[in-house]
């Protein structure tokens, strides 16, 4: 099976949507529930019931060469349609079906330019927490970086 190509170069609209999807993927189910609680959410019907499956993770030989199949990752996906029409999708690592469904609803709401700012505001708390975690991890890692001191020089 051929690994999926990265697809056509995403336009600015797609990049922003990918960023929100990434945020939802990293957020917890509780954070997504809290975000939706801050929004007016019309009823959502399943285009396809949330489903857990696999994606084969492909590495590259040498890190930058021809792909090879490393192993599968569990992925859960959801596809919903809001009562007023827009469809939303989510694909996440893991087996949490309700979380994927919540993210699909957020995706549908986000695609409406009129709602976008409110959706991003609702997710601001999750984004803040994720950023704080990243910063703390970076600081802890930085503390283990070796600072070399020259003890002696060979010429003497």
């Amino acid at each position: 099976m051929t690994p999926n190509p990265a697809g056509p170069e995403p336009g600015p609209g797609i990049a922003a949507r990918q960023a929100v999807m990434a945020l939802c993927a990293d957020a917890s189910r509780g954070e997504l529930e809290a975000a939706l609680a801050r929004l007016d959410v019309p009823p959502a019907e399943d285009l396809r019931p949330p489903q857990t499956g696999l994606v084969m993770a492909t590495g590259r030989i040498g890190g930058d060469g021809r792909p090879f199949n490393l192993g599968e990752v569990s992925v859960t996906r959801a596809a919903i349609r809001l009562a007023d029409g827009p469809t939303g999708f989510a694909y996440h690592l893991g087996r949490d079906r309700s979380k994927a469904r919540l993210a699909a609803i957020l995706d549908a709401l986000w695609q409406d330019p009129a709602q976008r700012d409110r959706v991003e505001a609702a997710l601001a708390e999750a984004a803040g927490r994720a950023e704080a975690d990243r910063r703390q991890a970076a600081r802890r890692t930085a503390a283990t970086r070796v600072e070399f001191l020259t003890v002696a020089r060979g010429e003497d």
């Binding site: 099976m1 285009l47 396809r48 019931p49 596809a79 349609r81 469809t87």
Partner: protein, 195 residues
């Protein structure tokens, strides 16, 4: 507006699989198949049910002219099955034929290889009618003696094509025949004559 798939994916797919399996095990004997789907035309509910049950990201699918001309059909299949669509019948694991009278010659599809005869194309026909007890005469594995089944509409010279297909056994294509509310099977091992 994307049409929904199976209401109960697990059980509906299992029921369809069972019907198709029984149909191929007893060639020519129609089985009930009522999947409750409303796919985009010209996909029939039975064609869609077989596609949803048997195709996935590993099975290239070939669509006949009528199906290929309707973008909603490709979108439906891509979404619900993830199957890659191919324009080359010889690459297809499954070929969906909405207009059997205009089906390309069976020889244009993949016959399988001596090491892997199962990699042949499985054609799925959307017929208008499958009538047991009359029409073509079938004999072979899974049939006690002989049986008759009428299929409409069929391409010209179909019986001759089936004979040629069978002559290449163990290579050759298999056929899943659907009609409103029913499915029948015509594996490559069945001998088909006009009477």
């Amino acid at each position: 507006m994307l049409a929904p798939g199976f209401t109960d994916p697990v059980h509906d797919a299992q029921a369809t699989f069972r019907a198709v399996m029984d149909a191929l095990a007893r060639p020519g004997l129609p089985r009930p198949l009522t999947p409750g789907l409303t796919p985009p035309a010209p996909l029939t509910p039975e064609l869609a049910a077989v596609a949803l049950t048997l195709t996935d990201a590993d099975t290239p699918v070939w669509l006949d002219a009528g199906l290929a001309a309707a973008p909603a059909v490709a979108a439906y299949l891509r979404f619900h099955t993830g199957a890659p669509l191919t324009a080359d019948p010889a690459e297809a694991a499954f070929a969906l034929i909405s207009d059997p009278a205009r089906c390309p010659p069976l020889g244009t599809f993949a016959p399988g290889t001596p090491a892997y005869p199962d990699t042949a194309t499985t054609l799925v026909f959307a017929l208008e009618a499958i009538t047991a007890g009359e029409g073509l005469c079938l004999a072979g594995p899974g049939i006690r003696g002989a049986t008759r089944v009428a299929l409409a509409p069929l391409p010209k010279g179909f019986v001759a094509q089936l004979a040629e297909n069978r002559a290449g056994f163990p290579l050759g294509v298999d056929l899943i025949l659907t009609a409103p509310g029913r499915v029948a099977g015509l594996p490559r091992s069945t001998a088909v004559t006009e009477n």
